[in-house]
């Protein structure tokens, strides 16, 4: 039996599979289906300094092999997360990753401070949400923005900081490097790709927000490419995600350079997807006679 354990930025995970932020709520719903302790980790729904109601519906449009969403960070706010949701999540033996989004650099710093001292095992700094007007992706598409947010968060916390990068950039490597240089302990990518669908009968966009973020199998090759390009540029570990549906997708993501693999949209059609993927990765390792999952990271042999 292969060893699935991963040490990620100093945090020990029992396996490399974590749920992607915004696709798994705060764990309560899928917790009705299986024991959350089986997961390597849980990235919770994106948190903001104040509660947010998000965008108006419709918030979802299906696309070939994927979907657009324009949720717009609906969440109860960081204080309610800490008092109402975290105690439930802490009942499980799994790593808790808190995902934060700010309107300003100061808001990111303030939230990081609140999450310090054990309120999260890892802080995932979302500078890549395409569905909010201020903040979000505005920070993640320039090296200056990423540097400013990462530095501000770094100063406020000893908890490992993971910066979540946007794929809506021309040079992912330079953005990845900026996050590393500013003190990030890890990177996660990709967030969703900005997209649009139009109803040809009504001539109206399907999403009330007009545009939304693309996720699901359609984005997988883009995600693999970006993880690979980022991994070549930085020494810090990477959580790779975007369209992972199976154990072989997860292995591919790791070969590209990911230490951990996020599973999001796959849960929507198969609630058990993260657990199935853990089993499939283990089977792959055993079949190939590979002793440990961590041996896969970055082992692609480019031509």
């Amino acid at each position: 039996m292969a060893d699935l354990k991963i040490n990620f930025a100093g945090v020990e995970l029992k396996n490399p599979i974590v749920t992607a932020s915004g696709t798994f709520g705060f764990g309560r719903e899928y917790g009705e289906y299986y024991d959350l302790s089986k997961l390597g980790g849980i990235c919770v729904k994106g948190l903001t300094a104040k509660p947010r109601e998000g965008n108006l519906p419709p918030r979802i449009a299906e696309t070939p092999g994927g979907m657009l969403n324009s949720v717009g960070l609906q969440n109860p706010g960081i204080d309610a997360f800490i008092t109402d949701e975290l105690p439930f999540l802490r009942e499980f033996d799994t790593v808790i990753i808190a995902n934060i989004s700010g309107n300003t650099v100061e808001e990111y710093a303030e939230m990081a401070e609140k999450l310090s001292g054990g309120n999260a095992d890892i802080i995932e700094v979302n500078v890549s949400c395409p569905n909010v007007k201020a903040g979000g992706m505005a920070f993640g598409t320039s090296t200056e923005g990423v540097t400013a947010v990462t530095k501000a968060v770094r100063e406020k916390t000893k908890t490992p900081v993971m910066v979540k990068l946007s794929p809506n950039v021309t040079d992912i490597a330079s953005i990845a490097k900026a996050a590393e240089d500013a003190g990030a302990d890890a990177l996660s990518l990709i967030n969703t790709l900005l997209g649009m669908r139009i109803d040809i009968q009504t001539r109206k966009p399907i999403l009330n927000n007009n545009v939304g973020g693309l996720s699901g199998p359609a984005v997988f090759p883009v995600a693999v490419r970006m993880v690979w390009q980022a991994a070549l540029q930085v020494k810090i570990p990477i959580l790779g995600m975007g369209g992972v549906e199976s154990g072989s997708d997860a292995v591919e993501m790791m070969l590209a350079g990911a230490s951990l693999v996020g599973v999001g949209t796959a849960c929507f059609h198969n609630p058990y997807a993260p657990l199935d993927i853990i089993v499939q990765v283990e089977q792959y390792l055993d079949k190939k006679g590979i002793g440990s999952a961590k041996e896969l990271t970055g082992k692609v042999e480019p031509v």
Binding site: T23, E32, Y33, K45, E53, I60, G216, F268, N270
Partner: protein
Amino acid sequence: MPNLFDCNITENIRLTNSVYSIAVDCESIAAESAPGQFLHIKCGDRVLLRRPISICNVSGGVLRIVFEVKGEGTKWLSLQQTGDVLSILGPLGNGFTFLKGNVIVVGGGIGSPPMLYAAERAKENAAVTAILGFRSADDVILKDNFESVCDEFHLMTDDGSAGERGSVILPLENLLKNGEYDAVLSCGPHKMQEAVAKLAAEFNVPCQVSLEERMGCGVGACLVCVCATMPDGTMKMSRVCADGPVYDAREVFF
């Protein structure tokens, strides 16, 4: 507990030009289902997301769904045959609440199927009146089923080609004016439900509506399926899949 099941299709009948009735065998879901709940159904490998379809009724371990072909997912579903297997997540959502007293169920078009299950349950301890509305005679579904379950039945069509001409609002207003009713339960187009809710409120009769929104997970985790509700005077984005699809009409922000 809702869960994921592979269910055998026992029957697929075409009811109208574009509406089909599929029966599947699933003891586990059938045992837990309540009127107003829905199933999240995988429609082949070409579409990624599951499709939410209401439970039309349950007999023994057999569940029935009645659906209209709209796009690729429901098209695929309509082509499945007896013996084929459907991947179903369910039963999901909160159904109708049943209290003692006389009940009116209102169904508009393809919103009618879940109202059959509601009428059957309500009939266990109440007198039930059904009002169904369709575009024209060709679109009428489940008439015989409603007629055999309900104490009183009103059929309406937009063009008068079957039943009475006009909308479900006409007989609803007459009933509420002249009778004693304790609940109105409804499912159908948004505009129709808004009118039903308004009328019920005028006559001070508690009204529950079943809403529709595009869905992702179907279990309450992704927040894509929300509608605006006012549970306590402040507007809140509520998850149709998990907090609904059935709501007290007074809470809905139409």
